[in-house]
């Protein structure tokens, strides 16, 4: 069955763990005349969370405040989904705690452990053994709303 018409779009602001955001797609357009039995049939509502949240109890949302990642397409005011259950590997974009601050950077594990900003105006953060740092989780998605 083809999806023909978007009948209703409703966006509600909370992740799956608490409430549901949904976009409902009707599968038939409305027509006058003899009713088709399929008209009442509505497919399972699409949930944007399915795209963003792979593991709900471990997924948190954060907002980007700086421009250190613009070359990776991450801009100020973007909302990032962070999955704490996913192990971060070399080349992943991660949320980390450095010097008591939350930061988003690209993780490099070789040749040395670094957090790399994706903005040529910024310097990489080289991590040493005794530094107070922690990888919080892997960034798994991004939401940007256009004004």
């Amino acid at each position: 069955m083809q999806i023909q018409k978007i009948k209703e779009i409703e966006i509600v602001g909370r992740p799956e763990a608490t409430a549901g955001a949904f976009v409902r797609l009707a599968t038939e357009s409305v027509s006058a005349g003899f009713p088709s039995p399929a008209e009442d049939y509505i497919e399972q509502a699409l949930d944007v969370n399915d795209l963003l949240v792979t593991n709900p109890p471990a997924t948190f949302f954060v907002k980007v405040a700086g421009s250190s990642m613009v070359e990776a397409g991450i801009h100020p005011d973007d909302i990032l989904a962070v999955d704490r259950s996913r192990e971060a590997r070399h080349g992943d974009i991660v949320i980390a705690i450095v010097n008591g601050e939350l930061t988003v950077k690209e993780l490099a594990t070789t040749p040395t452990l670094r957090l790399i900003p994706r903005n040529s105006a910024y310097e990489p953060i080289v991590l040493r053994e005794h530094d107070d740092f922690e990888i919080v989780g892997k960034v798994t998605g991004l939401v940007r709303r256009f004004k």
Binding site: P15, P57, K63, S85, L102
Partner: protein, 415 residues
């Protein structure tokens, strides 16, 4: 076999989650109305700030040690709690939610409990940032004690497997009796008079004697310390006989109109609790009081009234609460607290209706269910106009942190 999973310093830990700058700092969380300390971070404990310390006595610690103070942020704690419980439900065969930060698990059939506990602990910490302690034993009461040991002794790695009777006895001998599940401070005083000092002493007592002199529950608790399971998982707790909703006011209330609003709001909360437990109530009481510490003369009073039949409808209790409040209201006082209690609660299913009460009960149930559904959906809030739109009597929450996980405009920022 049971496991008790308990989050360490839950409220304080939640506050530290999105404030990495506070990770090693002294953090305390205050109760409703910023009354007293209900949760402390390890650094705050190390400073010797006791549980229950009134907020006004923290001033020196704040100035000298830079203690960070928070009001209770229930939206945040409830969200984090839900995440922890969901992880437990994924990893354990059966889970019984015991409180916002504790759950009992059925871990029967798991061979290596120690490894299972460690895996649980690591997963919860990695996924949510919350640290838990886990105690495992053949009875719930022993699991609770094992959990206390897991918290107290760092060498346990936060996990204690108390299957071995010799280990049980060693722990029972060093645990003071008031730390036993369900034995409060008052009860422990009476027990001490009988020479029962430790958990071991209680377990060794004659169960018949405990039942005669105290209660069946205490006799069962003692049997559980002996390793005889008496409390099962999800053993239905007896239906609540009464439901209370009460708070101290943020600002003193002197007018009847404002007091009406407050009482209506508490009534609405109590009725919601009632319906959540699938119960009806038949009567209620309303109480108001001035400060017992103020220089002005004290006044406190309560009134009790009944409905024609059991009900779960907020409107019935609003009408009744109005009459009750008016019967005890005295002008000229500065009230600091009010509350309502619902009594004679009964389950909604096997209900005997009086002829009078029968009509309209179905419509009322439907309306109340719709109301609760809207309020639980998180998308909007419907409330009774008689509780006021911008009430002056609401809580003090001067140190409230943002709703990091439940409000898009409050999510944490990253640079």
């Amino acid at each position: 076999m049971f496991a008790l999973v308990d989050c360490n310093n839950f409220y304080a830990s939640c506050e530290q989650l999105f404030r990495p700058d506070l990770r090693h700092r002294p953090v305390v969380v205050l109760s409703n109305n910023d009354g007293c300390v209900v949760s402390r971070s390890p650094a705050a404990k190390a400073l010797g700030i006791p549980m229950g310390e009134p907020a006004y006595r923290l001033r020196e610690a704040i100035a000298r040690h830079d203690v960070e103070v928070f009001s209770s942020n229930y939206a945040l704690y409830a969200d984090i709690s839900q995440r922890v419980m969901r992880i437990l439900a994924e990893l354990a065969p059966e889970v019984e939610l015991y409180s916002i930060d504790e759950a009992f698990l059925d871990v029967g059939g798991i061979a290596d409990l120690e490894a299972f506990g460690q895996r649980l602990r690591t997963t919860v910490r990695q996924w949510t940032g919350i640290t838990v302690a886990i105690g495992m034993a053949p009875t719930k009461t022993l699991a609770k004690l094992a959990n206390a040991a897991a918290k107290r002794f760092p060498a346990t790695g936060g996990v204690v497997d108390l299957r071995d009777r010799k280990r049980q006895l060693r722990l029972l001998r060093i645990m003071p009796v008031e730390e036993v599940w369900g034995v409060g401070r008052r009860l422990s005083r009476r027990l001490r008079l009988m020479g029962i000092e430790t958990a071991f002493d209680l377990g060794a007592r004659d169960k018949g004697e405990l039942r005669r002199r105290f209660s069946v529950t205490l006799a069962r608790t003692a049997a559980e310390l002996d390793g005889v399971p008496c409390f099962g998982l999800d053993e239905a707790p007896p239906p609540r006989k009464q439901i209370i909703s009460s708070r101290s006011f943020g600002e003193r209330v002197t007018g009847l109109a404002a007091m009406h609003q407050a009482v209506c709001a508490y009534t609405a909360t109590a009725c919601e609790k009632l319906r959540r437990g699938r119960q009806y109530a038949r009567s209620m009481s309303v109480f108001i009081q001035t400060s017992p510490h103020a220089a002005a003369p004290y006044y406190g009073n309560a009134a009790h009234g009944s409905l024609p039949g059991p009900s779960g409808d907020t409107r019935d209790f609003h009408r009744l609460s109005r009459r009750l409040l008016e019967s005890i209201w005295k002008e000229g006082h500065a009230y600091v607290k009010a509350g309502v209690m619902l009594h004679d609660c009964c389950p909604t299913t096997p209900l005997q209706l009086s002829l009078l009460g029968k009509q309209g009960l179905h419509a009322s149930d439907t309306l109340m269910a719709a109301l609760d559904r809207i309020n639980h959906s998180g998308r909007g809030r419907v409330f009774w106009a008689n509780q006021g739109i911008d009430p002056s009597w609401t809580m003090f929450r001067n140190h409230l942190s943002p709703a990091y996980t439940t409000n898009w405009s409050a999510i944490p920022c990253v640079r």
